[in-house]
């Protein structure tokens, strides 16, 4: 499961999606392949978290895990 937040949700046209991949890096590659160039630009400045925390690209991803695409933040 991939979660798209804020501007990434807008770029994806959805808040969540299931894409192929057994690692964080593979999931991100699938996201890149499925969505348009707007998502490509956003991924370049975004962070990717796994289950609520930063994760390496080679961290394994199973069916119950949540990968999140986090564009630059603007809280406060």
């Amino acid at each position: 499961m991939v979660v798209f937040l804020g501007p990434a949700r807008e770029a994806a046209g959805t808040g969540r999606s299931v894409v192929p991949g057994t690692s964080v890096g593979e999931v991100v590659a699938s996201v890149r392949a499925r969505f348009g160039p707007g998502m490509d630009d956003l991924l370049a400045v975004s962070r990717v978290w796994l289950n609520g925390a930063p994760a390496d690209p080679d961290a394994p991803v199973g069916p119950d895990d949540e990968v999140a695409i986090l564009p630059p933040v603007s809280g406060g």
Binding site: V3, L5, G6, P7, E10, V45, S46, R47, W49, N51, G52, A53, P54, E66, A68, L70, P71, P72, V73, S74, G75, G76
Partner: protein, 172 residues
């Protein structure tokens, strides 16, 4: 969003049990500013510094802002608020109480979006820690602001690439 038994749930439970002097929250309700100020006042601490962020009626190139909408990645955002409070205590061990509350959802102009409160025995540390907390919150908490102004609406261009708490910069 829940990760049963995962790191977030565990971290939140630990914070709630062991840190009665820390108050972090993400809430769709108006922020309880008066309660935060009263709560953060403790007998050992003579100085309380508070920062309140409120919705301005303008933004760069966007006159006549009428509302903001904040979207948070929950519960991860709440966990990062706890991390910020913990890191602030590590940097300023003299902190008595620390509160970090962020509003979510739609806010009108003049409403408070965030409040930070830090009490310490002396005022220099209260100011420094409160400043560090709000600066860090803006860079580290997964929250996004959408602005609605006189003739449009869009995500705020005033955004920072997400940083991990304590990854350098500012304060002690």
């Amino acid at each position: 969003m829940r990760w049963p038994g995962g790191p977030v749930a565990t971290a939140l439970r630990v914070v709630e049990v062991t840190e009665p002097d820390t108050w972090v929250d993400l809430t769709a309700e108006p922020l309880p500013l008066a309660e935060v100020v009263a709560w953060a006042t403790v007998p050992g601490c003579g100085g309380l510094a508070v920062f309140v962020g409120t919705v301005r009626d303008h933004a760069e190139g966007r006159p006549g802002v009428v509302a903001l909408e904040y979207e948070a990645y929950e519960p991860a955002a709440q966990q990062v608020l706890s991390q910020i409070a913990g890191e602030a205590r590590r940097r300023w061990p003299e902190i008595g109480r620390v509160a970090l509350l962020h509003r979510t959802g739609r806010l009108a102009v003049g409403e408070a979006s965030v409040v930070v409160a830090v009490s310490t025995p002396h005022r220099a540390e209260a100011f420094a820690a409160a400043r560090w907390c709000i600066d860090t919150l803006k860079e580290s908490v997964p929250i996004w602001k959408r602005e609605a102004w006189s003739n449009g609406q869009a995500w705020s261009p005033d955004a920072h690439p997400l940083r991990e708490v304590g990854s350098g910069g500012g304060g002690r």
